[in-house]
């Protein structure tokens, strides 16, 4: 029933895996040839050739990590949406549902296959994207680093399952493959915007406010705050309420200029600029948390699909 979609998704994934492994191997070969040049924070003599060669691989490596980020959305939508929608659209649902012991049993049988395909393909993407990221940034410890968050690792599999559940549910409601695909794309954007905002809020509640320009590169940046002179911490939207803003190199925020010197008026100190960050060592915890939220959402969406299939009329 889904031969074309499975072939399309497998072909796309194979192309992504092949390209990722090829770029990974090239980066590894370079790292092996220039072991002294891997730390980007130090300038080492004789490393120009290494930096030029890595620079040439910058674009493909970034692009492949970007495609890895998009892979769960494409896979989930292409495999999920037509699962029920096509049966309804072709008017074969009534026959298929009558022949099965129950509609839910029929759905479980059909969904199990696409869940397996989705997990297998996205697990492969998750692993290769981790390998690519590790080769791209060999000096970083990516198991405790938020760099390329959501473009590598287990989150890709979880997101794919969420989109798959959403696609199956929307397909079952709409009952026609193409309009359902359109609605599912809008639904995916809304759902993931909501999840992203909720996770940001959750993470921000546990983040620490670092002095201006002193955050680590492996941390998760969650916006800025102003620590007022009376100790109160407010959002950076507060700056828009000031008549003038001067932020010094040390992060001090002033609201007035001295008209004589043209320098900030020291008596107008508003507070200190702070960057809200979650340190890199919290990476596994944040990934586990978002994975749990994603798996919960996927289960709920699959249950919703079961309920829709159970109660809906088999005609479009």
């Amino acid at each position: 029933m889904q031969r074309w979609e499975v072939i399309a998704v497998v072909t796309g994934t194979a192309a992504l895996l092949g390209a990722s492994l090829f770029v990974t191997q090239q980066l590894r070969d370079l790292a092996a040839a220039y072991p002294r040049c891997l730390d980007p924070t130090t300038v080492t003599a004789g490393c120009d050739a290494y930096h030029r060669a890595v620079g040439r691989l910058d674009m493909p490596a970034s692009l492949l990590l970007q495609v890895s980020w998009a892979a769960p959305f494409g896979t989930g939508l292409v495999l999920g949406v037509p699962l029920v929608a096509r049966e309804i659209e072709h008017r074969t649902a009534s026959l298929a549902w009558t022949l099965s012991r129950s509609r839910v049993r029929w759905l479980v049988g059909r969904a199990a296959f696409v869940v397996l395909v989705t997990v297998a393909l996205l697990a492969a993407v998750a692993i290769t994207s981790e390998l690519l990221a590790a080769a791209y940034a060999p000096a970083r410890h990516l198991d405790s680093d938020f760099t390329w968050y959501g473009r590598r690792g287990v989150l890709l599999v979880v997101r794919g399952l969420v989109v798959l559940g959403l696609g199956i549910s929307i397909g079952a409601v709409v009952g026609r493959a193409l309009p359902a695909l359109l609605v599912a794309v809008f639904g995916t954007v809304l759902l993931f915007t909501g999840i992203s905002l909720a996770m940001d809020r959750w993470n921000a509640a546990e983040a620490t406010a670092r002095p201006y320009g002193q955050g680590e590169s492996d941390a998760l940046a969650l916006g800025a705050r102003i620590e007022l002179t009376d100790g109160e911490v407010v959002g950076d939207a507060y700056l828009a309420s000031l008549e003038n803003i001067v932020i010094d190199a040390d992060g001090s925020v002033y609201s007035r200029f001295d008209p004589d010197s043209g320098l900030p008026d020291r008596s107008s100190l508003v507070g200190r600029y702070r960057e809200l960050m979650l340190p890199g060592e919290r990476y596994p915890q944040v990934v586990a948390r978002e994975s749990a939220v994603g798996i919960g959402a996927a289960v709920l969406l699959l249950l919703a699909a079961g309920a829709i299939v159970r109660h809906r009329r088999p005609g479009a």
Binding site: L242, A249, L263
Partner: protein, 318 residues
């Protein structure tokens, strides 16, 4: 004819409603962002006139009341431009692909084709209203994209040149019709909607890559050396720079110029008297000419797609 048009719309009612709502959203958003950008820019100019001089060594903003909202509008305008670029792609694929593919997939093609005087006439009656809607919707977003491209502060008194190349102007409509025609042909070949949509997506990507390469080759062949004075602004598609000896008109590369002038270059890199800085560029005034080339390429694809779809519908088994 009216019945045929009504049927064409009834077959794709849900897609049309969703997509036209999205088109309306993109157009209104683009126009709204452009309008608010102009309003805030006026306020910012008034504020900057009365602000004290900048302070060296600090990140300062004398007009935060306008800076922050303008930056937000700039970020939002990027989304609106993406919307304009994707409108012809989404409309073309979602409305073009199912025109024939749905009839074949749902096995209604034999009945529909036998009821019509000819298969070609049937295709014409189904395709023309849908292609008309695609063209009109894309013209609307193209105009909105054009207004948005002229709104940023840096375009004041200038020309956006080749900026937002695929996100403005009437060629957006040509893109939409071309993608719909190609999608229709792929749908007629494959005979199933979703696989045809996926193939159509790949074909659209290939089409845009190919046209980008041809556009780039055409522009490179049209590059001309333009001499610019100190602090003079030039707009256009810039491919390189160099220097010119004014007396002889001899052109020097950047490397030759740096070797010849050394410390004589001023702070902005301008050469000593007797020489001018030169940009190798396609000037903004030639935007219209290249927009016509672009539209001609997509128009050819549209004509080929329609002819192929018609040929397949006439010949294929239903």
């Amino acid at each position: 004819m009216r019945q045929a048009i009504r049927l064409a719309f009834a077959m794709q009612r849900l897609e049309l409603r969703l997509l036209l709502a999205a088109v309306l959203l993109v157009s209104v958003a683009a126009l709204g962002i452009a309008w608010q950008t102009r309003v805030l820019r006026e306020a910012q100019l008034a504020c900057l006139e009365s602000a004290p001089p900048a302070v060296e060594g600090s990140v300062e903003s004398p007009c935060p009341g306008q800076d922050e909202p303008l930056a937000t509008l700039d970020r939002l305008s990027a989304f609106a431009k993406m919307g304009v670029i994707f409108t012809p792609i989404v409309l073309g694929l979602f409305l073009g692909v199912p025109l024939v593919a749905r009839e074949i997939e749902s096995r209604t093609a034999p009945l529909a084709w036998s009821l019509s005087r000819s298969r070609r006439r049937w295709l014409l009656q189904r395709a023309v209203p849908v292609f008309g809607v695609i063209a009109l919707a894309c013209i609307a977003v193209g105009v909105a994209g054009d207004v948005l491209a002229h709104a940023p502060p840096w375009v004041e008194g200038s020309d956006p040149g080749f900026e937002d190349w695929w996100a403005r102007g009437p060629q957006v409509a040509v893109h939409g019709v071309a993608i719909a025609a190609a999608g229709m042909a792929i749908g007629a070949i494959v005979g199933r909607q979703l696989p045809a949509l996926l193939l159509g997506g790949v074909a659209t990507l290939a089409l845009f890559v190919a046209v980008t390469l041809v556009d780039d080759a055409l522009m490179r062949s049209a590059v001309e050396p333009i001499a610019v004075g100190p602090n003079q602004l030039v707009t256009g598609k810039i491919y390189g720079s160099g220097f010119r000896q004014d007396a002889s008109g001899r052109l020097l590369s950047d490397e030759e110029g740096y070797a010849l002038f050394g410390d004589q270059l001023d702070e902005s890199g301008y050469p000593p008297p007797g020489y001018s800085m030169v940009y190798y560029l396609v000037p903004s005034r030639r935007y219209g000419e290249f927009a016509v080339y672009d539209a001609a390429m997509f128009g050819t694809v549209a004509a080929a797609g329609m002819a192929l779809a018609s040929w397949i519908v006439v010949r294929r088994r239903p």
